[in-house]
Amino acid sequence: MKKRKYGVALSMVLAAGTVLAACGSDEADTGTDEGSTGGEGAEETSEFKVAMVTDTGGVDDKSFNQSAWEGLQQFGADNGLEEGTDGYTYFQSNNDADYVTNMNTAVRNDFNLVFGIGFLLNQAITDVASQNPDTNFALVDDVSEGDNVASITFKEHEGSFLVGVAAAMATESDQIGFVGGVESDLINKFAAGFQAGVEAVNPDAEVQIEFAGDFNDAAGGQQIAASMYGSGIDVIYHAAGGTGNGVFTEAKNLKQQDPDRQVWVIGVDRDQWEEGQVGDDNVTLTSMVKRVDVAVQDISTRAMEGDFPGGEVIEYGIQEEGIAIAESQDNLSQEMLDEIANYQQQIVDGEIEVPSTLE
C-alpha cells in the first residue's frame, strides 16, 4: 500500500517538476538578469543591506511598524544607504501567510540583516533563520531561538512604572484603571510596572486591571472605559493598541459633556497627545513611549560593524533610551515631572527593581 502511494506520488512529482521547469525557463532569464545586476552592485560597493518585514499592520500603522520603519530610514540616511534592493527597504505583509514569503524574499535579495516586526512573526523568523544560517535576523517584541537571531524586547514595565507615578499623583479619587489588549506575558509587564509605580507614590490608590481580549476592538475599549470612569476612576492607562482608541473616545466624550470633570488617559507605544485633543482641552496625561526606532537603528549599526548580537535577547529600557515618557508634557505639573525624574534616576541606578510580572 505504502509503496503504491509512493509510486503515484513520485509520478505526480515528476510530472509537476517537468511542468514547473518548463514554466520557469521562460521567466528565469529576466529573473536571473535582474538578480545578477543586483548582485554585482552589491559586490562592487559591498554595502550593508538591511530590510524589515512588517506584520499585517503595515508601515503606516501609527504604531510600532511605523516606528521601526522610521528607525530604518534614519539608519539609511545616517549611513548613506539608498532605499531599495541595494540599501534598505521594507516588505509589507498583507496576510499572515506572507510572513515566511517576505522573509525568504529578503534573504534571496541578499539582505544582510532582516527585521521581523512584532511577535506574530516569531514562527516565521525561527523557521527561515534556521534555513538560512548566513543571514542575520532580528525579532521585535518576542524571543526567538537561533544563533543568527537577535531578540529585541523592551522593559515596558520600567516606562509603565513612570506613568504609574504620574497617574498616582494626578488621581483625585485614588482609583486608577488599566486596560490591556490581550492577556499575555507582554501586556502583564505593562500592568505590573504600572501598578508598582502607583503604589510607590500613593499606597492608598487602587488599580483596577481589565483586559479587552482584543487589540483592535475600539468599541470594546470604549465600553470598559465607560464603566471604569462611571465607577469613579479618573485615570486610565491603556496598553491595548487599537482597542485603546475607544478609551480615548470615551474620555473625550466625557470631557466634552463636562469640561470641568477630571478624566485622564495615558497613552502607549508612542506619543498619543494628538489622540487626546478635544477642543482646547487634552485628556492625554502622558504616554509611555517605546522607541522601536532606536532599537532598530542600534541593532543595524551593531550588525554593520560586525558586532551582531546573534542568539542574544537584548532588552531596551530607560537607560538604553528605548523606553521614555512622551515629549508632550503640558498636562504634567512641575512637581510630577520632578518626581518622575527622581524615580527614573532610581531605576537607572538600580535602586528600584520594577516587577515585570503580576504578583
Partner: protein
C-alpha cells in the same frame, strides 16, 4: 451566472475582464508616475520568475481553489455562501486539533485530520442551511454572522483549549503534516505543500458531483427554480441543506490546507484571513465551473504573490494589485455590457 449567455460569451467575458483590468491597472500606474511595463514584469517575475516564487504562488493558489469551489458550489444551487471565511477557519482549527490530539501512523492520521477539517466546515455551513430550509432565514445574513462566531470561537480554542494560553498552537506532527520537504528543496525553501493535488482532485470531484450525478442534477435544478423542482418531486429542503454542507466541506478543506500545509499550526487571528472572501471573486471570475475556478484561483495567486515583490523591483505599491482585482471583478459583474459589445462586434463583422 452566465446562463443567458452563449458558451463563447461565457468564456470571453472573464478573459476580456482580465485584459481590461490589467489595462486599467496600467493606466493607473502611468497616471501615478510608474512604468507599467516594469510593474507587470516585476509582478510576473515575482510570481513565476524563480522556483521559489513558483512554489509560493502554487501554495497561494491552493486555498483559493477550495474557497472558489465552495462559493461556486453554493452559487450553482442558488445559494450565496458568504460564510466560506468562517467555514475555512473552523476547518483550519479542527484539522490542527486532530493533528495534535492523536498519535497515529501517517496513512490514517493525515486523512483523518483533513477529513476533520472538511467535517467542521460542513457542520458550520449546516446551520445556515438548516435555517434556510426550515425557516427561510436568508443564508447571507446567517453566514456573515457565523463568520464572526467562527473567528472568536477559533481564537478561544487556540488559546485555551488546544494550547495553554499561547498565541499559537504547537506544530502538527509529521504524521499529520502536508508539508513536502521534496517540494521545499525543489523550490528553494518555499512553503509549497501537497495541498495543490488535493485542490485539483477537489475540482474534479466538484465537476463529477455537480455535472454527472443525479444528486448534482437535483441540486442544480433547485438552484434554477425551487418551485418547478418541488413540483417535479424533488425534496427542496434536503437539497438546500446538502448544498450548504458540501459547500462548507470544500471551505473546511481549504482551511485544513492552511492548517496542515502552509502553516502547520493554528494561531490567534486578529482579523479574517480574507481567503474566504476572495473565494467569492474567484468563483465569479471562474464562472462557477471547476476549470474556471482553477484558472481564476491561479490568476489570483499570481497577482497576490507578485504583488509582494512588485514594490521592491519596480517601486509600484502592492495596493495596485488590489485595484486590478477590483476592476476585473467590476467588469465580470457588469457582464451584460461586455456581452452587448461582443454582440455588436459580431454583427459588425458580418
Amino acid at each position: 451566472m452566465f446562463n443567458q449567455f452563449s458558451r463563447w460569451q461565457k468564456i470571453m467575458i472573464p478573459v476580456i475582464s482580465v485584459v481590461l483590468g490589467l489595462l486599467v491597472g496600467a493606466i493607473v500606474m502611468l497616471v501615478s508616475g510608474y512604468n507599467p511595463i516594469e510593474g507587470y514584469a516585476a509582478l510576473l517575475s515575482g510570481s513565476l520568475g524563480e522556483g521559489f516564487y513558483i512554489g509560493e504562488t502554487i501554495r497561494q493558489i491552493t486555498p483559493y481553489i477550495f474557497a472558489g469551489l465552495a462559493v461556486a458550489f453554493a452559487f450553482r444551487t442558488g445559494l450565496f455562501n458568504i460564510g466560506v471565511e468562517g467555514q475555512l477557519l473552523v476547518g483550519w482549527v479542527a484539522s490542527v486539533w486532530v493533528g495534535l490530539a492523536f498519535d497515529l501512523p501517517k496513512i490514517i492520521h493525515l486523512p483523518m485530520a483533513i477529513l476533520a477539517g472538511a467535517l467542521a466546515g460542513a457542520l458550520w455551513a449546516f446551520v445556515p442551511g438548516l435555517l434556510k430550509a426550515k425557516l427561510r432565514v436568508h443564508e447571507v445574513i446567517v453566514t456573515i454572522m457565523m463568520n464572526y462566531i467562527a473567528l472568536h470561537l477559533c481564537n478561544y480554542l487556540v488559546r485555551y483549549v488546544i494550547s495553554d494560553g499561547q498565541n499559537t498552537t504547537d506544530r502538527v506532527p509529521e504524521s499529520a503534516s502536508l508539508k513536502s520537504p521534496f517540494f521545499e528543496t525543489l523550490t528553494e525553501f518555499s512553503t509549497m505543500h501537497y495541498g495543490i493535488f488535493l485542490a485539483l482532485a477537489a475540482a474534479i470531484i466538484y465537476f463529477v458531483v455537480l455535472e454527472k450525478t443525479t444528486t448534482g442534477f437535483e441540486l442544480r435544478s433547485v438552484g434554477f427554480n425551487q418551485h418547478a423542482s418541488e413540483y417535479a418531486g424533488m425534496n427542496v429542503n434536503r437539497n438546500i441543506i446538502l448544498s450548504m454542507v458540501i459547500s462548507g466541506a470544500f471551505a473546511g478543506l481549504g482551511g485544513a490546507m492552511e492548517g496542515l500545509g502552509t502553516f502547520g499550526y493554528g494561531f490567534i487571528h486578529g482579523a479574517f484571513s480574507g481567503v474566504g472572501f476572495d473565494g467569492i471573486a474567484v468563483a465569479l471570475l471562474g464562472g462557477n465551473v471547476a476549470l474556471g475556478v482553477i484558472l481564476a484561483a491561479a490568476l489570483f495567486g499570481i497577482l497576490k504573490q507578485g504583488a509582494l515583490i512588485m514594490p521592491l523591483e519596480s517601486g509600484v505599491p502592492t495596493e495596485l494589485v488590489e485595484i486590478v482585482i477590483a476592476i476585473i471583478i467590476f467588469f465580470v459583474a457588469s457582464s451584460y455590457i461586455i456581452a452587448y459589445l461582443l454582440q455588436r462586434l459580431k454583427k459588425g463583422a458580418k
